[in-house]
Amino acid sequence: MNMTRRQFIASLGSTGLFYAFHFTSKSGAQTQSVEEPFTAMVDPGCVVSDMDIDYTDWIAFGPGDKVSVFTGRAELGQGLKTVITAIVTQGLEITRSNLAVVMGDTDLCPDDGITSGSSSTRMVGWGFWLACEKITGDVIARASQYVGIPADDLEFRRGGVGRKGETGNLVNASELGNGKTLIMTINPRTMSAGKKYTDLKIPNVNAEEIITGRLKYVGDLKKPGMLYAGWLCTPYHRTVTKLKSVDAGAALALPGVKKVETVWGRVAVLGERYSDVIKGLDLVETTWSEPNRPKEMPLEEARANAGLLAVEEQKGDINAGLSASDFTYSENYTTHYTCHCQLETDMAVAQVENGGDKAAVWVSTQHSHKAKELIADALHIPPENVRSIGMPAGGAFGGKQANPVNREAAKLSSLVGAPVKLVYSRKDQFQLRAFFKAACIIEVTSGVSANGKILARKVDSYQDVGHGTKHTYDIPHVLVKAYRDPNWPLGLASSRGTSYVQTCFATESHIDMLAHKLGIDPLEFRRKNVEFPAYVNLIDSCADMIGYGKNELEADEGIGLAIVLHGGAQLGAIAAKVAVNRNTGKITVKRLCGAFDIGTVINLNTATVGLRGGMAWGIGYALSEEIELDGHSTKTEYFSQYRIARFSDMPPIDISFHDNHQPGSPPRGCGEMPVIPTIGAIANAVYNAVGVRFYSTPITPEKIKNALGSATREAI
C-alpha cells in the first residue's frame, strides 16, 4: 500500500462514500451527523480509557462494492483484525473478499488510541458494531433520496440498498457519496445495538498466512541497501552507568561490519548481515563508569523511598471500620520481577530519507501514532514527515506501548544514511530493555465482623504502577494507596494486566487466610462478601467444575479459588487444583476451571484461546517466572533461566461463560483478566494441599522444600 490517505480517498472517485465515526462519552455529544469536506478532517486527539471514550474510526465504501475500514490499532495476536472482519462483514452483509481492514498505518489510519487494556473488542470491535448500524440507516436514507422510493420500502443488504421483497440491489453504497466525509458522533454509553449479531465464530483471518509462513512481521521486511543493527548490551543497568570509552577498531576490521555508531550514550554495530552485527558487537571494546548505586537492592529500599502514586480507592472511614471490627488481620505479601517475553523480540525497520527529513518506519508496536511522535522527536523533524506503519506483532502484552526500538531504528538510519533493521537479541530483551513487571510489597489489613462480613480493608502497595486493586468485595470502609520510588533504576511495566496482577495475588491469598482464621470455608466466605451477585454464580460454576468439596483429593493435592474484577466490568472466578511433591518441591497444576462474565462473546474461538493463554501466564507467574537482578545488573539472559509456561506445564482447562452481571451487554474484554486470579487460585490451592501459606511469588520448588522441611501444618 503505497499511497497516502488523501490519495486513497481520491481513488474512491467522486462517488465514494466515506464515514468517520467519533466515539465519545462526553455529555451533550448526542448522536449527530455533520458533513465536512475530507480535506478539513484532522486526526482527533485521543483519550481512550474506561472513563472517557474519545476516538474515531473510519469506514469507506468504494470503489464499486469494496469496503475499507481504518483503525490505528494493532493486531498483536489478540485477534482484533478477525473481530473487525467478523463484525463488518456481517453488519454490512458483505463478503470477506470485498473487505479490507487497514490497521496501524499513520498515513492512512486515525489515531484511535493505544491497543492495550483488553480494549480491542470492547472498544474498537464494539465501535464498528455500532457504526455498521448507523451506516445502514444513513445509507437507506441517502438511497431513498437517490432512487425516489420511501425509506420504509427499502432495506440495506450486501453493501447497498434494495427494495423490500425484491432480490437485486438498486444502488451500491459507494454510489451515494459526494466526495465529502460524513462525520457521525456516537455515544457508545447511550447507544445499544438493535441487531443481534450471531455466529461470529470465524477463524483467524490471518490463519492461512500464519500456517504457511507467509505472514510478514516487521523482521521479515527487507529494503534495498538495508543494514542490520544491534545495540551493545551494557554491563550494568543503563540508568546506573555511563559510557566512558569506545574502541571500534577490531569490529570495523570485519568485512561485514559497516559502521559502529555511538549515540545516546550507547553503541550500535551496523552490518550487512545480522551475523556480522553479532560478531562486531563481540569485538567492540568499551569501558563504563562504575554503577552509581549499591549492588544490593532489597525491595525494602523502594518502600523506604516511595512516594504516594495514587489513592486508588477511598470509601467510608478506614479507622472507624477497623475499630468496629471484631477481628482484624494484617499480612504482607511480596512479588517478583517478570518479563513480557514476546516471542518476537523488539525489531523495527527504518528508512530515513531526504537528508534525514523524512522517515518511514515499519513497527511492531501497540500504538503506531505514538511511535510516529517519538520518531519525530528523535529526529527533530515535524510529525507529518514521519510515517509509522504497524505490522502484525509477534506478541506485545504491554511491552510494546512506546517501545524505543522504533525511534532507535530511525535514529540509526538517519545517522548512516541507509535503511536499517534494528534487532534486539533475547539477551537485550532481558538486560538492555530491562522493562519488567514490578516486584511489589503489598501490605493488607482487613477487619471482619463476628458474623463473617468484611467491614474494612486497607491496602498499601509499593512499586505499584496503577490500577492495582478492584472492589471485588462489598466492604464499607476501604483505603487503597499505591506508592512508587521515583528514582528506582528499573523501568516498571504493566504486562498482561495492571498492578492488579500483583495485588490480586495478595488480596485473594489474604481472603483465604481470613476465612481460615475465622473457621469459614473460603468459598462460603467469598459468597458472603462479594460485591456483585453475579460472582456467586461464577464461584459456584468453577467450584462445581473442579469438584470443590467433593473429597476427591489425594494426599498433598489441594483446590483453591480466586476472583477478579478487571477493566471496568470483566468478572471472573478461577478454581485451581494442584499436587505438591514434597520430595522435589514441584507443584503440578492438575486442572484450572474458569467462569467468566464478560458481556457478549463475539468470537468464541479467539476468546477461548485468549482466556487459556492468560491462565498459562498465571501459571508461569505463580510458579516459575522470575527475573534475577540486583542494583547493578540483570542476570537473566536465556529462556533456560526464565521458565514461561510450556506444554508440560498446562493442565486441562474448563471454561464457562455467564451473562448475569449486565445481561445482553456489549463485549467487556478478557485479554488480561484471566492471568490475574490464576495466581491467587494456585497459591490458595497450595495452601489447601500442604497447609503452608507462601507470602511471596513465585512459589518455587526451593521455597516448597524449605517450608515443608520446617513448617507444621496449620489448621485448615
Binding site: L76, G77, Q78, G79, P203, N204, N206, A207, E208, E209, I210, I211, T212, G213, R214, L215, K216, Y217, G219, D220, K222, R273, Y274, S275, I278, H340, C341, Q342, L343, E344, T345, P392, A393, G394, G395, F397, S425, R426, N605, T606, T608, V609, G610, R612, G613, G614, M615, A616, W617, Y638, F639, S640, I644, A645, R646, F647, S648, M650, P652, I653
Partner: protein, 156 residues
Amino acid sequence: MAKKNFTLNVNGKVRQVTAELDEPLLWVLRDNLGLTGTKFGCGSGECGACSVLIDGEVRRSCRVPVAYAALGREITTIEGLGTTGNLSPLQKAFIDHTAFCCGFCTPGMLITATALLAKNPYPSREEIITAMDNNLCRCGSYLNVIEAIEAVIKAT
C-alpha cells in the same frame, strides 16, 4: 571469515548461496533465500521458533551452521509443508482449532509436530507433550495446538 558458495536442498529445490562457513542456517534461509517463515526468537536454540527439518529431524536453524546443512541434506521449512490449496492435515487442523494467537511460534510448532507424526502417527498425549515441549508460545495457545495434533491423529 571468507565467504563460500554452498548448495542447499531446500523444500525439494536446489539453491545456491554465498555465506560464511559458520553463518547460522536461519539467516541464510531468511536473507539469502527469502524464506522468512522461519523465525528468530532467541538465537540460542531454546524457543523453537526457528525449527526446520534436516533429513527429517527437527533442528534449531539458529544453531546449525550453513556448512553442515549444505552436505547434501534435505532441508524443509514451513514454506515446504504445504501451500494454499494444498495444505497439510496439520496446517488445516491448526486453523480449525485456533492453534495460535500472534502466530510467531506457529511455523516452529508445525515443523515439530510434522516430524512427530512422521515418526509416530499415533502418539499419546504424553508423547505429544514431550515432543513439543521445547517449542515456546508466549500467547499460551498450547492446549489448542495439542487439540489440533490430536484431531489429525484421530483422522489418520
